[in-house]
């Protein structure tokens, strides 16, 4: 029952259209410039809101490799966000080392160890069963975090002290100066670097084989695509990205807590991806930004922000399956064809 997401016009643009390439580059440069200048322009608070945005952007780039490009919907991906945060916190607690680079390595290492067996197992399934299996693993880890108090600090979680960046300790800066300053730029570079890597992966032969396994697994097998292998690799890569996102979230909160792995957070990850549009490479990143700003704005206006988020998601799913970026794409398409005729 290969239920790849194909019935909708999947407009993952083919990498070759050069004319389109230039447009893409402009968007990229404006993205970099805007975010590089933001700390000077926007108030501290909204900058500290952008840190979770960077974390989710990285997590969703990984998640969409699995969902948009691989056609596999995981409902337990928040598991790896928690793995990242806890790996960093455990490193700091047990070894006293607080270098951010080491935390990232610990997170990636832990994610690799945990994701590989799950990937080998989960790559046998698609559709509902893949979703249920990942949900079950997510909740297993959540329960483990809550239950094994002496290892994981139980419900209270583990503290995550402020890390040093490239060995530099920003002792003097207060919390906002640190987050809105050096940490902000470090994360921006991380997002751009990991984004570039993911762009290369998605446009590589491996990426093409993954998309082929999404659209038609039997035909792909006959053209030499190792379907289970490409899916397993996609799962592991998405787990690594999730863990890196988890470390950033952990540092932003100053704590790694079990709530990170709760299945509803996995649901929010899917929400952001569909909100931004999973057909586009940049879609999920847009979705993360819009979700964070929407949630923040709604929660100032009313206590019932979940209701409005739910309504937005319902409208999205029914009326705008392509998400925001899908909407842009069809708008541009309409303009271009109207112009051309």
């Amino acid at each position: 029952m290969n239920t790849s997401i194909t019935t909708i016009d999947n407009s993952v643009k083919s990498p070759v259209q050069s004319r389109k390439g230039i447009g893409g580059k402009i968007v990229l440069i404006s993205f970099i410039v805007a975010f590089a200048l933001a700390p000077q322009v926007i108030g501290h608070y909204y900058i500290t809101l952008l840190i979770p945005f960077f974390a989710y952007a990285i997590t969703l780039l990984g998640f969409n490799l699995l969902f948009g490009y691989g056609g596999l919907l995981s409902f337990g991906h928040a598991l790896f966000v928690a793995v990242g945060a806890y790996a960093a916190a455990t490193l700091a607690l047990n070894t006293g080392m607080v270098s951010f680079e080491l935390m990232l390595c610990a997170a990636v290492g832990a994610a690799l160890i945990i994701a590989t067996p799950i990937a080998i197992l989960a790559s046998r399934y698609t559709g509902i069963f893949f979703g249920m299996l990942t949900l079950a693993f997510g909740m297993l880890f959540y329960t483990f975090l809550n239950k094994f108090y002496d290892i994981t600090g139980g419900d209270g979680g583990l503290m995550l002290p402020r890390p040093t960046l490239l060995g530099v300790n920003f002792e003097s800066a207060n919390n906002f100066e640190f987050l809105a300053g050096p940490f902000y730029y470090y994360c921006l570079v991380l997002v751009l670097l990991l984004g570039w890597i993911m762009w290369r992966v998605v446009h590589s032969p491996y990426g093409l084989h993954l998309m082929a396994s999404r659209d038609n697994a039997v035909k792909a097998t006959y053209l030499g695509v190792k379907v289970r292998e490409v899916r397993a690799i996609a799962f592991i890569v998405s787990a690594l990205y999730g863990a890196i996102g988890g470390v950033i979230l952990g540092v932003n909160t100053g704590l790694a807590d079990p709530e990170l792995a709760y299945w509803v957070n996995s649901g929010y990850l899917v929400f952001m991806t569909v909100l931004g549009g999973y057909h586009e490479f940049i879609g999920p990143v847009i979705g993360a930004l819009v979700f964070i700003l929407l949630q923040d704005e709604l929660s100032t206006v009313t206590q019932h922000w979940r209701f409005f988020l739910g309504v937005v998601l319902a409208v999205l799913v029914i009326a705008l399956p392509g998400g925001i970026s899908g909407g842009f794409r069809s708008a541009i398409h309409r303009v271009r064809t109207k112009g051309a005729r």
């Binding site: 290369r200 032969p205 035909k219 006959y222």
Partner: protein, 260 residues
């Protein structure tokens, strides 16, 4: 039969689904330069034979050798990169990938790029070369950047076959490649297939076909199947002179088919 280069040999293969005997003790051999057609009524076991030969299904008994190695049940993904490819009866393509991308899937398997996750696919000279050459051979060049979803049925069928050819196979198994194509340009399609197999170095072709006109025109040898058994395995001219076999395959009182 000369034995200068035995490519594909099936020895006593049968395939049972419970007590249904889809294939019953079939032997088959294929050498360089041959164009073997497999004919017979529906349910004769033609498609099952192709599935077993291409490693999709494990034969219940018997052995399949490809260029000397036992490939029974090895799996299609291995065979694809060591010279045995197939196309499907129903056009089997990637709806959301363009013609270029579909051919590039086979090209990257052929060039052993399967695991390279960092190389920019479309900027890769060799891949681009194969894509251009195969598209050219199958007259798909104008549609290179069109998604398979937007192609008419006949074009999709060609893409299905083209993507198999792009693996540069030694042997290719085609399952009614001209199905759904108007009778007028069926021969056009066959000509394209033959010229493409020359340019891409295909050494032998197995064709599962109903249209006896095509079979008589292009085959070097014809195998007739009935109820899972091989009832004939003759060079083309001998096949059409053998009344008894022809009557089973084409049915009683068929017009006498003149062989070109």
């Amino acid at each position: 039969m000369q034995r200068e280069k035995m490519l594909l040999r099936a020895v006593n293969i049968s395939r049972h689904y419970g007590d249904f005997r889809a294939l019953e003790h079939v032997d088959l051999s294929l050498s360089t330069g041959e164009f073997v057609s497999v004919v017979g009524p529906n349910g004769a076991g033609k498609s099952t034979l192709v599935n077993v030969l291409t490693g999709l299904h494990q034969p219940t008994t018997g052995r399949v050798y490809f260029r000397g190695d036992d490939i029974a049940g090895v799996g299609a993904v291995e065979l694809a990169t060591c010279g045995l490819a197939r196309a499907f009866q129903l056009a089997n393509v990637f709806l959301d990938l363009t013609v270029r991308q579909t051919i590039a899937v086979s090209a990257s398997s052929y060039l052993k790029l399967r695991r390279s996750a960092f190389v920019n696919l479309m900027g890769h000279g060799e891949v681009d070369g194969i894509v251009r050459r195969v598209a050219q051979a199958f007259e798909l060049t104008p549609w290179l950047d069109v998604k398979a979803r937007a192609l008419p049925h006949g074009r999709r069928k060609l893409l299905d076959v083209a993507s198999a050819f792009a693996l540069h196979p030694k042997v290719i198994l085609l399952d009614e490649p001209t199905a759904g194509v108007s009778t007028a340009d069926k021969h056009g399609v066959m000509e394209t297939l033959l010229s493409a197999s020359k340019t891409l170095g295909v050494e032998a072709i197995v064709l599962v076909e109903h249209d006896m006109d095509l079979v008589s025109r292009y085959s070097t040898r014809i195998i007739a199947m009935q109820a899972g058994k091989k009832i004939a395995d003759l060079p083309r001219d001998e096949f059409f002179q053998n009344e008894e076999v022809v009557s089973i395959v084409i049915g009683k009182g068929a017009a006498n088919v003149s062989c070109a």
